[in-house]
């Protein structure tokens, strides 16, 4: 198996083929909006666009975004080789028109036409325990710490739908790709509680106030309807990473912690009652999902970090087992 070929195919799928959960959410939204509203017109165009991009293998959106590869690898893996394969795959995908020339040298202002540069694309590697524990998708990738014996079971969720082929787990390699566009990334933000102007204290009610405020501030700028990936706690940098990882979750799942699942549901419902609507032109579909994780924090800090993702939820995962067989994860 050639990793450059495999990752190029991962990019092609991610950039052109919206995952089924996101497409279904858009279709449901069309039915919710009144038929001759601007909101319905926009949502119908998004559904039509989704089918067209898939059929033609062309980008769903012209902003093909920051490419972030989340890897989970067994001990002893040559991660430098995988990273090089990712870079080769990005250059090839750009050449094929699956990715826009989307990389600017910040100092000279010139376009880096291959989309390959230092730290670009982004690769995050995590090593799986040698016995394969934690490989069944995927507490850590989803921003939840790995299980220790005797630990509260709530901290070790196993998400449904991720464990379709258990064979070869321990020795296999798993990779998820997220493509996140600039318009949506510009809408990501971080709050530090308490925040007096929002009336937000250091509790879940404070978190709710931050999230609703974030949705209001974002309006249509991030191509609503969008998804919120949220991390409560951690430090500033880890908060953004964990929040971003929440965006890999299926729109149909719920946080394993009942209090976070309840908050996810409530914020989704309340945000959609704000009337911002698709592209900020009014309507009842402002968010498609809210995905929240909690991390420990320092006594002095309480961050609420929001990674905003637009309707174009471009995320695809695959697993290559030790025998070289390939399995798509969504």
């Amino acid at each position: 198996m050639d990793w450059t070929d495999t990752l190029a195919e991962l990019i092609r799928r991610t950039t052109s083929d919206l995952p089924a959960d996101a497409e279904a959410a858009l279709c449901r939204a069309v039915d919710v909006e009144s038929p001759d509203s601007q909101a319905a017109l926009i949502l119908r165009a998004l559904v039509e666009n989704t089918a067209l991009a898939r059929q033609q293998s062309t980008p769903l959106c012209q902003d093909t975004g920051t490419l972030t590869f989340f890897w989970e690898v067994p001990p002893g893996t040559d991660t430098a080789a995988l990273e090089q394969a990712a870079r080769n795959a990005v250059a090839r995908a750009t050449h094929n028109g699956w990715l826009r020339r989307n990389t600017i040298d910040t100092l000279t202002g010139r376009s880096v036409d291959s989309n390959v540069a230092e730290g670009c694309p982004v690769c995050h590697f995590e090593q799986r325990a040698a016995d394969g524990e934690g490989s069944c998708k995927t507490p850590r990738s989803m921003g939840v710490p790995p299980m220790k014996h005797g630990q509260d079971a709530r901290a070790t969720p196993v998400r449904k739908g991720f464990c379709k082929s258990p064979e070869g787990h321990a020795a296999g390699i798993e990779v998820w790709l997220l493509q996140k566009g600039g318009g949506s990334e510009n809408m990501s933000r971080q709050f530090s509680l308490p925040d007096e102007t929002l009336g937000a204290g250091r509790d879940l009610e404070g978190v709710r106030r931050c999230l609703l405020h974030a949705v209001w501030q974002t309006q249509g700028f991030g191509c609503a309807p969008g998804v919120l990936g949220v991390c409560i706690g951690a430090d500033r940098a880890e908060g953004f990473l964990v929040a971003k990882r929440q965006l890999l979750r299926s729109l149909d799942d719920a946080a394993p912690e009942p209090e976070l699942a309840a908050l996810e549901r409530r914020v989704l419902e309340e945000a959609n009652a704000l009337g911002i609507g698709p592209m900020g032109m009014g309507g009842t579909t402002t968010l498609l999902g809210v995905k929240i994780a909690a991390r420990t924090r320092l006594p002095a800090s309480y961050f609420v970090t929001v990674a905003y993702l637009c309707w174009a939820c471009r995320r695809r995962g695959l697993r290559v087992s030790s025998d070289g067989s390939l399995h798509w994860l969504n």
Binding site: Q38, T58, D63, R100
Partner: protein, 199 residues
């Protein structure tokens, strides 16, 4: 649905109302951050924008020529595979000046714009259209031809000024020439609902 065709007349533009759905055809020029800064700071525009449309968009393009060393003849040696609107508010510092200097009648983008652009639309007879954000495959299908490209070397393919011939691009009037902005109305109404929710 109302149809608009290039060149766009002041009468046609002033007749549009916020919230109306339109289809745009004819010549449209793309421009993003680099172009707006260049134009607002007194730079020359190689394309004729008078009674024209400026589309906030950085397309995905591939050369038609199989020889990558000779990718373009500068006039249509390209195919657009994806082209949706980019966030317009980034051009807010420049937009009003560009509308005034070049006589732009139609701005196409996403997310809406601010007070200065709203005022310029009313004063000079211009309209802001919301294209469907992210619907890049669909919009690329409405692009029939790349007529010309400018600033390709200087700004790069994404930021370059692409002169495109389009047919039937769907959009919704976001800011009309009477000074009404749908975005302002949605923002104010949602602020009221937010206050109610947060008590």
């Amino acid at each position: 649905m109302i149809t608009l065709h290039h060149p766009f007349t002041e009468t046609a533009v002033r007749a549009l109302c916020a919230g109306e759905a339109v289809r745009v055809s004819g010549r449209v020029c793309t421009g993003r951050d680099r172009l707006h800064k260049h134009l607002a700071e007194g730079g020359a525009c190689p394309a004729d924008l008078r009674d024209g449309a400026l589309f906030h968009c950085g397309p995905v393009v591939v050369p038609l020529s199989p020889d990558p060393a000779q990718p373009s003849d500068g006039r249509g040696g390209w195919r657009v595979v994806a082209a949706g609107p980019t966030t317009s508010i980034r051009e807010e510092p420049y937009m009003a000046r560009v509308i005034e200097r070049f006589g732009v009648r139609v701005v196409i983008g996403k997310g809406g714009m601010g007070e200065a652009t709203r005022a310029a639309c009313a004063r000079f007879g211009c309209v802001y259209l919301q294209a469907v954000g992210g619907a890049a495959a669909l919009i690329a299908q409405r692009i029939k031809r790349v007529a010309q490209v400018h600033f390709l070397e200087e700004f790069g393919a994404t930021e370059a000024l692409w002169e495109l011939d389009i047919e039937g691009l769907e959009a919704v009037v976001g800011i009309d020439a009477s000074g009404r902005s749908l975005y302002d109305e949605v923002r104010d109404a949602s602020a009221m609902r937010l206050r109610r929710l947060l008590g």
